[in-house]
């Protein structure tokens, strides 16, 4: 993958991990593996279980390099 793709597995990991919280990393990763019909379906699911808009995809507050 030569660029970050909206709706990709890693985009889903980003959205689930940041929406469900790092303390739920295991379930976040497993939910990211679900073959979602579309990123919108995935985001609607996140909203339905968290009651909030999906988090993640942000490019601010980055503290350290990897």
């Amino acid at each position: 993958m030569d660029k970050w793709l909206y709706g990709s597995l890693y985009d889903s990991i980003d959205k689930f991990a940041n929406s469900l919280g790092y303390e739920n990393a295991a379930i976040a990763l497993q939910l990211a593996l679900v073959p979602w019909d579309s990123p919108e379906d995935r985001d609607a699911f996140i909203s339905s279980i968290t009651g909030e808009a999906p988090k993640g995809g942000e490019t601010t507050n980055y503290i350290t390099g990897n």
Binding site: M1, K3, I13, G57, T64
Partner: protein
């Protein structure tokens, strides 16, 4: 001998009904602008229990259905906002039944020593499995910082 064409009767192109300026954009009774339909005698209303006078008076008060007052469209809510407005519980909501034991609903009893939150162990197991791929993904151009932060967190967990 020639006669001038008559300027009356029929659907002439220059007749008033064909002049757009004569049409009231607000609807209603032509150019009057009062947005009311013209009152007219309606036969046989008596058989329906209404006198002619009543029928005329009724028509005088009735506006045409056209040109409704625009109403503010209902705001579009996101799913999250809709859920919040219904007061429905979500995964992140506090439990409604805090006294319910963790193993409620299981067919068999959990071992006595399994009472704590086991998410940490599960997290480590899954993070270990996917961390190498996630580290590679965090180097993809355009990877959001929120993802890199999560990868940093995962690295921190593995390193202890």
């Amino acid at each position: 001998m020639t006669t001038a064409p008559e300027n009356r009767g029929g659907d002439r192109p220059n007749a008033s009904q064909n002049n757009p300026a004569s049409i009231n954009p607000l609807g209603g009774n032509g150019q009057s602008g009062d947005n009311k339909q013209a009152t007219r005698y309606i036969p046989d209303m008596k058989s329906l229990g209404s006198t002619g006078v009543e029928t005329m008076a009724q028509q005088g008060g009735a506006s045409l259905a056209g040109n409704p007052t625009p109403t503010e469209p209902a705001p579009k809510l996101s799913i999250a906002e809709m859920l919040a407005s219904t007061g429905m519980n979500t995964l992140m909501s506090d439990t409604d039944n805090p006294s319910e034991p963790i193993n409620a609903g299981l067919d068999s009893q959990l071992p006595a020593n399994v009472t704590a939150d086991t998410r940490d162990l599960e997290n480590l197991e899954v993070i270990q499995k996917y961390l190498p791929a996630m580290i590679n993904a965090s180097r993809i151009p355009g990877a959001p910082d929120s993802f890199k932060q999560f990868v940093n967190y995962a690295i921190g967990r593995i390193n202890g």
